[in-house]
Amino acid sequence: MSNIITVQDLHKSYGNKEVLKGVSFALEDGQIIGLLGPNGCGKTSMLKILTGLIHDYQGSVLIDGHPIGVDSKQLVAYLPERSYLASWMRAKDAIETIAALFLDFNRAKAFAMLKDFDLSADQKVKDMSKGMQEKLLLALTMCREARLYIMDEPLGGVDPAARLQIKQTILSNRPKGSAMLISTHQIHDLEDVFDHALMIREGVVIADEPVWSITAGGRTLEQFYCEKHGIPMFAPTQGHPTPPPGAPVGNLAAQLDALRQSDPEAYARLIQSQQQ
């Protein structure tokens, strides 16, 4: 299988601070890759380099063999961490804008996705909550027929129910054979979808492995992440609702579903506490 992303000896500095220190890796096409690491480790800088937002770096970066430029950008759909939509826009303006700029954008699918998300096409972006904006941006990204989807914290700042919906949308709308590079702190929520994990710490790659080889010994990806970063795993705090016996650990979707059925009040409390 060919490599969708090839990075060699990538360096990026902000002033005297070097955030990427000679990063090298190659990622196979058609996979879902988790880009994992603590805040400030260089994840977002790397995604910005891959999408053509940062230009002053040293090293070689190729997307499907193309250096970063017009050809590489044609292959990439990017979901940034922050909204790029002008505040005056309504959801339908955002869809029309993206439809006008990207030939591979499916306008009808985007409007259908808005309905699925319970978003009004006439609602202004500035009046939307963070979660609603996140869903709109996700619709704009996933309605493109791209070869590579790059997502920066797609589950950041949204409640568990929305996280589940976003995760399902990502998986169900991914074109066959396309690759995804997802940067996230919500390892627990996404570890069951990752084929490959790329971990970065202080600008250096500390793990670049298929997820099956990490979880082969029975540990979870989150446990592996904590081990690599020297973070102790915490036991659930008393007073928080816990999933009923039998719910599979490590699968947020199943846990939430089981909790909703067994204890609707606890489920409501959990959602409310997450929203606060």
Binding site: T51, L53, H55, K73, V76, R82, Y84, A86, L101
Partner: protein, 287 residues
Amino acid sequence: MFRLIKNEIKSTAHSMTGIYLATGIAIAVMALTIQGMHFHILPNWVAALGLIISMVAGLLLFLLTMIVVLVNFSKSLYGAEGYLSFALPVSGGRLLGTKTIVSVIWMFSSYILSLLIEIGIMVYTTQTLATGEVMDLIKQILPMFVNMPNPSVLILAGVFMGLSFFLTLFMIVADVFFATTAANTRPFQKNARLWTILLSAAVLIPTMWISTRLTNDVPLTFMLTAKQVGFIPEAMSVPNQLSTYLPQGPGDWGIKFGVVGILFELPLSALLLYFTSYMMNHKTNVK
């Protein structure tokens, strides 16, 4: 490119509509107050105030357009909207070209509209308030236009003035785009707004000084008279000596245009845009 231009016009039209609407309201207020005074409903000072507001609105229209266009450039490339702009599958040069074309179109439209507003105010107030003395004055002025050159020369002079203004606008746009982009490269990015102003002034002030000196001192100007047009080897600073270069009849009218400054500004603007495009492709960071 056409799709990019269309989208750029659409996205900037949102801000521009507000400016044009505000100007339209100011003019409507002026018309109402003058009518109110004409029919003795409103006191004179209210009409005077309405007149001043609409004249100021006409002048502000151009200034605000310039600010909106330049702020939009910065926001759409180096603000949050830059996440979309730089992810588009187009080259930096094409992105820059689109923004330059649309910016110059808006600025030129607002300039023409400003001019039309000021002329319109003059005509409207004269017609509405024309007393016997005003009409007498107009009758006295009209014969002076008899000695004006033929209409085709006047049109040519208008086109030349419009073109030189257009090129100066182009240079200002190129200068600010260059400064904004340079301010978003690593050495300046921490204080990007301050550096935009400083770098813009650092390029614009010497450019304007050199351009003015070249226009005034280099002995090459474009001459328009009622009968002829052509280049003459005379500097702008030298008083008009039409008869030396171009044959003319008694009472002929002539005007000189400096061209060397414009000839200097045009390649400089192109050079600034070239460097801007280079920085967009190789040096800038979107925060």
